[in-house]
């Protein structure tokens, strides 16, 4: 068991290295550098000598392979470099932003799980009923609503019209600020979870061993409790893990909309400014977070399902 977890953690190392390489190469081929993006405001004119000096200072005048070599060397010592913009170590910049994003991701997934899983479950127990129809219609609409539009509508209704909740920002970090952005971010995974749960439960309802359970004289309630829930949970848990990745990816939009001081908005700003060390660091942190969540899900699934071997 412990060796299984350790092996899974070790497997993350090559994945992270490969992703680091892809990000690095991507940002070395897209046009524009930090220095040139500083010139892009159209007002200041930077003289070529200054630009060359800045490029040298940031190490941007070296060929790609030299810079990549240096970068990998830094990574090996867990050093993510220095932000071009703030001149702070990237790790410091990220540390400030990680917690708000984690909060947002967990809160929106909590919302998605608390509403999506029971919705799908109830729908599956009564297929074709009005509950089923309503929940699946809302699931489809939840998946197709654009997040920025949903966010704006939430702001309009709950902040502007009703005045119950603050419209944007992190404020003092109280939960009141977290509610609207996590709903905006959580509706899509909720809809997907509802659908997945419904499909999983329906599939297991028709499984042979459920027929066996009925033939044993088990009531439907016992059958759901003893046989159905665990079998369905393996599928649902895997979906939850994958949805975490989607949520963090889409947090970029929601964080920007709600002025949420997380990794997403940091990422957008840093890409615009070509603050490459921060961009690379932020993406690596997001990837790491996604991998950790999914490793956790795999371990839980392996505990539930004895057919998954600890290899």
């Amino acid at each position: 068991m412990i060796s299984f977890v350790l092996r899974r953690l070790l497997q993350m190392v090559p994945i992270i290295l490969a992703i680091a390489a892809v990000i690095f190469l991507m940002f070395s081929v897209i046009p524009g550098t930090f220095v040139s993006s500083m010139n892009d405001d159209g007002r200041s004119v930077m003289d070529a000598e200054v630009a060359a000096r800045m490029n040298k200072e940031f190490g941007l005048d070296d060929p790609v392979y030299v810079r990549f070599g240096k970068y990998v060397g830094q990574l090996a010592t867990l050093d993510l470099g220095t932000s071009f913009r703030t001149r702070q170590p990237v790790t410091t910049v990220l540390a400030d932003r990680m917690w708000p994003t984690a909060q947002l991701a967990f809160a929106s997934m909590l919302f998605a799980i608390v509403f999506g899983v029971p919705l799908g479950f109830i729908a599956a127990l009564r297929p074709g009923s009005w509950i089923d129809t309503i929940s699946m219609i809302s699931a489809v609409s939840g998946l197709s609503l654009p997040k920025f539009w949903l966010g704006l509508m939430l702001m309009y209704v709950f902040a502007l019209v009703l005045g119950w909740l603050p419209s944007f920002g992190y404020g003092d970090g109280s939960i009141r600020y977290l509610i609207l952005p996590s709903i905006a971010l959580g509706v899509a995974p909720m809809a997907l979870l509802a659908r997945t749960t419904r499909a999983a439960v329906l599939e297991i309802m028709n499984a042979d061993f459920v027929r066996t359970a009925r033939a044993k004289g088990m009531s439907e309630a016992r059958m759901v409790q003893w046989h159905l829930t665990r079998n369905a949970s393996v599928i649902v848990l895997t979906t939850i893990g994958l949805q975490f990745g989607t949520v963090i990816g889409q947090a970029v939009v929601v964080e920007k909309l709600f002025a949420w001081p997380g990794l997403g908005s940091l990422l957008v700003d840093s890409v615009t400014l070509r603050d490459i060390p921060v961009v690379q660091g932020a993406i690596l942190v997001i990837v790491l977070f996604f991998l950790l969540i999914n490793t956790l899900v795999d371990v839980v699934c392996a505990i539930i399902d004895p057919r998954i071997k600890y290899t």
Binding site: D208, A215, G217, M218, S219, R222
Partner: protein, 326 residues
């Protein structure tokens, strides 16, 4: 209770609903099983054997439903029972073994627990006591080292072992009737014999009657006292096992018997093609008019194509549904 009959099925009809229309998938099926008897139900795939068994245990699911007739168990009409009353019978008085031991057990639950559930459900035992009885139940079906096997998950057991677990489960509460729906079809031939012996031995010991469903005539001939042959949702011949295979009366039964390969036939009579009944069982929505077997029958006449034959008692006991049974 009339005589020795444990189960009396009369005029059973099972409907298949397709787009709001109901088609009889099983029609006019009547038979009875005495206490401790082994009754065989034979026929090709799709002729209604399995759904007949599911109807007996009250497990028909959409789009299938009971369309009429009567099922009396210990003289009590099962079709009048409430769902709760039927549930009490299921597993304790009537139990069932399925064809696919691979999928019929919950993959996430140790087999011991799945057997123990029977004692918890029907005997009101607590889990510890039930788990102990599960070990005994596994020992009865001759699973080696049962006290260790109870902790195994289904995927750790072979097909034969899983079917033993199913049998242990089905017989756990000493039912009066065991429905065995092709219990050995998915197993190796060598394992088949062991499983059949086990079913026979244990049901005899407990006085359990068995409804054995199979398409394997040899198996039915060996195990059963009485046999019903089903074709396209109807019982077309019903007789004692020892006579039906010697003197089959219905052309379909004759075809089934003739299609059996005979060991040593090649050296005696030379190389010959195995006889088969040409064609396939018609789908439920497209049963032919007249006798349902007429499109495949070598002796079909205009009468067979026009008129449905009725059930006729045979002089030597037994029933047949054919215009030309003599």
């Amino acid at each position: 209770m009339t005589g020795q009959a444990l189960l009396e099925v009369e005029g059973l009809r099972i409907d298949l609903s397709v787009n709001g229309r109901r088609y009889p998938a099983v029609q006019d099926v009547s038979f009875s099983i005495r206490r401790g008897e082994t009754f065989g139900l034979v026929g090709e795939s799709g002729c209604g054997k399995s759904i007949t068994a599911l109807a007996l245990i009250g497990l028909l699911r959409n789009p299938l439903s009971i369309g009429g007739g009567s099922i009396r168990f210990h003289g009590q009409e099962l079709l009048d029972l409430s769902p709760g009353g039927m549930r009490k019978l299921r597993g304790s008085r009537i139990s069932m073994i399925f064809q696919e031991p691979m999928t019929a057990l919950n993959p996430l639950s140790p087999v011991g627990r799945q057997i123990a559930e029977m004692f918890v459900l029907h005997k009101g035992a607590n889990w510890r006591e039930a788990e102990r009885q599960a070990v005994e139940a596994l020992a009865r079906v001759r699973v080696p080292a049962p006290e260790r096997r109870v902790k195994d998950y289904p995927h750790q057991l072979s097909g034969g072992m899983r079917q033993r677990v199913m049998i242990a489960m089905a017989l756990a509460c000493g039912p009066d009737l065991l429905l065995a729906d092709e219990p050995t079809t998915a197993l190796d031939v060598t394992v088949q014999a062991e499983i059949l012996d086990l079913i026979q031995e244990l049901s005899a010991a407990q006085g359990t009657a068995v409804l054995m469903i199979s398409h394997d005539l040899g198996l039915i001939a060996n195990m059963c006292q009485n046999v019903g042959v089903m074709y396209a949702g109807r019982l077309i011949e019903q007789r004692a096992a020892d006579s039906i295979f010697l003197t089959p009366r219905h052309p379909y039964t004759q075809g089934l018997v003739a299609s059996l390969p005979l060991l040593g036939a090649r050296s005696k009579f030379g190389r010959k093609k195995l006889k088969e009944i040409e064609g396939v069982v018609p789908p439920v929505v497209a049963f032919p008019p007249g006798c349902r077997f007429n499109p495949r029958c070598h002796a079909a006449t205009d009468l067979c194509r026009a008129e449905d034959p009725v059930v006729t008692p045979l002089p030597e006991s037994g029933l047949v549904r054919c215009h030309y049974h003599d």
